[in-house]
Amino acid sequence: MSPAGNGASLASQPLPFATPAHVRLKVEQASYAYSATDRSAPKFTLGPVSFEAQRRELVAILGPNASGKSTLLKLLAGLLKPLSGRVEVDGKEVSELEPRARAQQVALVSQESELLFSLRVWEYVLQGRYPYGKRLRFESDEDCLMAGNALSQVGADSLRDRWMDQLSGGEKQRVILARALAQRPGLLLLDEPTQHLDIGGKVELLRRLRRLADENRYTVVVVTHELNLAAEFSDRIALMHKGKCLRMGAPVEVYQREVLEEVFETPLEVEIRSSGRPRVILSGNH
């Protein structure tokens, strides 16, 4: 797998299908349906969706609101059990794993939730070690070491004694990411992590996720609305539309003008940059 920066080769040719040993995440015809009550007709249906993600891969899930992105992410996280099909992480059906065992393999960063009472950064990051102990637990030296490593990985060493509610948006997002890394997962799932960040923070976060995938062998799946950042940093894109995975592939394959216009219902233009990565701009005639 090519690291970031070697985008031209990535973009110009489809990825070779992974050999099973490298496959971390395998989604096979997975589907899901929500309904108001058990007896009523489903209000929203997802799938069936199929794709694979390897170690060191960054996959972006794109699509308009209510297209099924978050539902797909919950299926990957094992929080929902697929109605049909399978979601496997390292060869095991993820929704059937015991929650703590699952949390040691898969980390989920949800959309930001408000903290009721503030706590110190290191206390927050240590919470990521919860799956490694008994229910009522006190942290071991190893837990502290892992939490410290996680903070270093996101460049947040200096924040460790700060209060969570005194951090900037970007700092907070890094700390939330550190808690996920303290779980020592192989698969990292993020639900719209760029939502509350300014453009600098967004780029920094995506760059960091790219580096975690390249250098630390994480498989990263990120749900986002940022078309251009996704094109710039991800290996593959899943484009969701009305509960279906419309396209799956390298950014340059997925970013086709007609397809994007249909999905986002907005006139758009796609240009290919010198790096070989596509860029989406608003079309002039709207």
């Binding site: 206390e123 919470q127 006190f138």
Partner: protein, 343 residues
Amino acid sequence: MRPLTPKRIVGICAGLGALLFIEVVISLRMGDYPLGVRDIVATLYHGALGQWDAVPSEFKLVVFGLRLPRIALGILVGAALSTAGAGFQALLRNPLADPYVLGVSSGAALGAMLSLIVAPHTVGAIQIAAFVGAAATIAAVYFLGRRGGQLDSATLLLAGIVAASFLSAIIIFLLTMVTGTELRSMTFWLMGDLTAPPPTTNVLGWFGFLFLIFVVAAGAMYTTSSDLNLILTGEQEARHLGVNVNRVKMVVYIAASVLTGLAVSVSGAIGYIGLLVPHVMRLLFGTDYRLLLPTSAIGGAIVIVLADTLARTVVAPTQLPVGAMTALAGAPVFIYLMRKRMR
């Protein structure tokens, strides 16, 4: 990085415990019958060892017969209310939640009133009726507060508020129909007071029974303290990290309700303790529930013993209900905390 250790919890609790002990000795001194610190400590020491011959009988009566039961009741009620308050604040994800917010106290007061009307002279009836009233309200609010088969914080809070106002209306209705001494007893349930005598002559057994209920309920809540820490930073992530959120909510709901029912059935509705003490402990020792629950319990005991000592001495020989004292001091603190949060 200095993670919380059991040693640190024990250390802090021992410090608070010592503070409580000093306060208890001071409180035992206060009153019409003068007692020296040395007399009190000697009386407590010999009493604890069962050496009654070494204790003057009037000391025994004043310390063990009059003042200590009231202090012990205060300790129990303060600890129960504060622990329940900390639990409800996490459960309802609302820092301004207190043990009475779900209508538990109104239910207990109604139960107590009905027992005063139906069986005014039956020993223990009022405590049992108050507890049953609290339990019935808790059950009703629980079933009203569910959404999609799960406890939903906002729905639960609304159901509690509605239940409380409905029950209050019935209480007002009953108040208009009673007179004299009954009215005075009923006011006691609405204001909160520690002067109620135990319903049995076996005072030690009675307190043993009450403390046993406290230990079981507070202990059950304590087993969820690591889980509560995670739930407070986001329910979905807690679920993903392996916390059984529904089970934790159920345990906290039942335990906090039992603690509230326990307190309210022996002392009426003493306000503000369950709301404010957990906040003060958070300010002092942080938000970690593994430390917050035990410090809140001891802190609640400290505050209520202080409040009750003041209540029976500031306007002596007249005694104020302790609930009036806590409300007097608690309301300004509450407003301060609320304003601070809004800023």
